[in-house]
Structure formats: structure tokens, C-alpha cells
Amino acid sequence: MTAPALRLAGDPPASPRARRALHLRWGLVALLLLAAVLSISTGAAGLSLPRVLGDWLSGAGLATRDRVILFDIRLPRLAMGMMVGAALAVSGALMQGLFRNPLADPGVVGVAAGASLGAVSAIVLGGLLPVALTRVLGPQFLVPLAAFLFAWGATMLLYRLARAGGQTSVATLLLAGIALTALAVALTGILINMANDQQLRDLTFWNMGSLAGASWMKLALALPFVAPALVFAPRLAGGLNALALGEAAAAHMGHDVERLKRWSVLAVAAAAGAAVSVAGAIGFIGIVVPHLLRLASGPDHRALLPNAALLGAALLVGADVIARQVVAPAELPIGIVTAILGAPVFLWILMRRRGFGGI
């Protein structure tokens, strides 16, 4: 399953373009490894990684504190950062391809607004649920679960709304998305008005995104949704490439455009929905990563989708390293870091493209 993701189909390996693409791929893998090593070895606790690894490998046994920091804090956090970053970046690339619009991101199909409404409902109204239910779920799972269900529900509703007579109108999808998002934001507003101070602070933190709540359990809950979507996404690449020429052209080239739309929306709902529900709303990864990659290697989705997964993972893990360091021993919500880094990069891309007579 990994082979098609790592090699570009269609190009003979000797051509300069293929070589460049291969270099880019390995460069991204190296970047991700670098970010991962940084993430594991830095943190407020000042753990000496070589010493800890030495202890571990020599069988000397780890101090409880070191073991907890490494296996219960840093590793799940790294894994969740990679998963969330990859999910957001690939979802962004899929949305931009599907809508043929450089500004599209999972928010367009209601994922962000739906997840936000779900999270806010759980935070504000969670106390009204039967105690037995919250005890079974655990308070830490109520918010992600509600966020995922609402994100998924919003996207499915939207897809249903945009479908008429076996055809899905991308324009309707976009416009209905705006209306649905406005509705979700209004409902969120009502709940916010009902919230007390502490719930408000919880909401604010959720809305800025964070990997602070990373745990193996959350990873295990989200991965079954993210992983299939990421593995499956490259199979949509050919269709998305054809779609760039227009729906009619893609259909003439033998692509089932309806199927393409359906699977793209499903993949985004699963990957971005699960990512946002465990990590909160993290902006800009979904927009900046595909754009950076298009600049580097062109718009071919066969290269773009797997590369986006790698770069998204590397950037989010890197941003998390920064989020943990700047105000240690406290930490910054990661959404702030991605926006502070992402917004200027995005502006730069925009200016450059305008120079080329783009957008």
C-alpha cells in the first residue's frame, strides 16, 4: 500500500522531473524525521535523550518520571502531531483540487464549523447528560466524540443538500457550506452565551487548537478514521488532475466525476473531522502546505497528496515544538503558532503568484 505513495507512477525513473520529485520526496521524509527527533528530544522537562535511550536499551530500566515523559507525553504527542498535520494538509489539497479553488480547505465543507459546534455543545451542555453516560465515556472523550459526530454530520448534510438528480453541484456545495457554517456559528454563539467563565476559557483553548491533550487512547480513536483516508487519497489523484480541466473534460477522459466528489468529501470528513476533534481547530496547515508544494513540484496530485501528508506532519510537529518552548513551563495553543507562521507564508505565496499574473 505504501509503494504507490512513495513512487510516482507514469514517469520513467531516469527523467529529470522524476529525479527532482524523488529528491523532494526524500527531502520531505528527512524533514519529518528531523522534526520528529526535535519533538522527542525537547521539552520543558529537560530530559537527556541519549542517557534515557542508553538506560532503556541496556535494560537498566527507566525512572518512572523519564518513562512517563517519554512514553506518555512526548511519543503520543509526536504521533498525534504527525497524524493531525498529515490529515489537515491532505484534506486541504483534496478540497482545493475538488473545488478548483486555491482557498478551499476542510472548512468549506463544514468540517470546522461542525466540529466547533460539537465541541462547544459538549463543553457547555455536557453537564446535562446522564452521569452514567459521561462516566462510561470519560469527560476527556465527550468533547472529541461530539466534535467528530457534528463535523461528520455537517459534511454529510451538506453533500446531501448539494446533490440533486444524481448530480452534485460544486457551486451549491460551496454556497450551502457558507449557509450551514453561518448557522453552526450562530448556534455556537447561543451556547457561548450560556457558558460560564470556565467553560468560556475551555472553549477558547479548544478553538486555538492544542496537542496538549495527546494520549495513546485519543490516537487510537482517531487513527481508524485518518489512516484509511490518507492511504486512499492518492487514488483520487488521477481524477483530481483531470478535474482541473473542468468536470466535462474529466468525464470525457473516463473519470467518474460523481464518484470522485463523493470519495473526496468522505475522505475529508473522516480525516479532517477526526484530526480537528482530537486537536481542536488548527488553521493554515491545510492551505499553506499544498500551496508550498505546488510551488516546489507543480500541481500534479499524484505527487501533491503524499507530499502534503509528509510536509503537513513535519510542519505541525515543528510548530508543536515551538508551542511547547516559548512560554515553558506553560505552552501556547498550537493554532496560534501555525497561524503566526502560516499567515506570512501564505501572503508571500499570494504576492509571488500575483507577480506571475496568477490569482
Binding site: I69, G138, R201, P329, A330
Partner: protein
Amino acid sequence: MKMGAFLAAGLLALAAPALADPPQRIVSVGGSVTEIVAALGAADLLVGRDSTSTWPPEVAALPDVGYFRALSPEGVLGLAPDMVLAEADAGPVEAVEVLKAAGIPYVALPGEPSPEGIAAKITAVGEAIGRQAEAATLVETFAAEIAAVRADAAQVPAADRKRVLFVLANQAGRLLVGGEGSSAAAIIALAGGVNAGTGFHGYKQATDEAILTSAPDVILMMDREGDLAISDAEVLGHPALGTTPAAQAGAILRMDGLLLLGFGPRTAQAARQLHDALYGPSEG
């Protein structure tokens, strides 16, 4: 005699595990928790605090582990504490679980915002850090002060009770005021006043009409500086607030926010201050 000594020794031995090694490096999470630790004379044992811990002033110099609902477990562990004292609702849950797994005593303290809740919290902190005697003394003083202010408050005839409106913030003319069940309502009741903000829970934005009908005799605010400060001119110039009995009589009170709303060991003092400001110092 001998028997008694044995018994005492046995009891001591039983109690020993708890008393054996009182913590030397404490991270305190929650404003009132930190105040209690300091009031028990253990401020020098603190190695970290959360962002709501701002009293006594010297704790501001300690490393800040963030908002008490958004803790970073590694940040806390990085301070190498041998005990974490935290409000019961500190979080996120994952962070608390990781801290508990790290083998450091993690003490969740009861957090009811009432005088009884504060006394229970003081006792719990005292037990956790091995200062039971100091805690008992503090609880005694605190209970006596509360009883005194309650007695004075009870003497105010129902007809003379002042209606107090707590104004938390003024956001360009929209007022955020204290409603039922808010900490402001609790301290106003303790001081013998009547909370004028009724019909809603917590701190909410009130419409001008609601403020007019609340007809407060006194406007209570936090003593803040900079952008958050609300000046008398702002109060008098506000279309609704300016026409209330309180504004017309110039009855505007300001008190330190954490003292007033913190529900820690200084709450008796806060209630006394508010009571005296409302009704004048009690004679005797």
C-alpha cells in the same frame, strides 16, 4: 501509663507514612490553593504556580505552568516537584492522568466557593503538606472572622439591605455583570447585601433595561488598572447605569478582584471590607 505510651507510639507509627516526608517542592495550581499554601507559611516550598495564582505578590516570580484548565504535563514535571496541589477541576484530564502516572503525589482539593468549602480546602492542604497544626489554627481564625461578619450581616434589617450590582467589565457600553450563582453574588450575600443581578446565572452581558430595573444602591467593581479599569465618569455617563440610585448617590465601590472573588483564606477579610463599606464599621 506504659500501655498509653505504646498506644501513642503505635498511632504515631500508623500516621508516619503521611507525616514521614512533607513535600519540599510544590507546584500549586489554583489561585486559592496558592494563597492557602502561603498562609500556612509554606510559600518558600513553592516551585511553580498556575496563571490564576497571583497572591501573595511574591509568587508572581515563580514559573507559570499556564491556565489551570490547560496544563502542560511536561511543564509541570520539568519543575521537578515532589507534590502537585491542584483545584479539583484542574485539567485537561489527560494532563492530570499523566501527572498521576509520573509517581508524584497529586492532590486534588475540594473547591466549593463557600466559607465551609474554604475551611475544608485549608484542612486538606494542611494535611497534604504536613502542616495540620497551622491549618487548624488558620481554619479557627477564618471561621471566627466569618462568624463575626455573618453576625454583623444578620443584624442588618431586611429593609436596610443594600442592593449591590457587581460590574465585571464595560465593553464599549455593554456591561458584564454578576448574576445568580456567581462568586460576586456569594460574597455580596456574605457581606449582608442583596445581589441586584437576578434572573440569569454567572457573569452575563446585561441589557440596559435589565440594569435599570435592577436598581442597585451600590455599584461594585474590581480595582483594576489600564484598559480594564472603569472610571466613575464612565459609570455616570452610561445611559442605564448612570440613572440608577447607586450612580446618583455616587455609591461606587472598588475592591481588589482576587480578594473579592478568589474564595481563599482572605474571603472573611473581603466580606468584612465589603460589609463595612456598605453599612459602616460595626460598633464593638
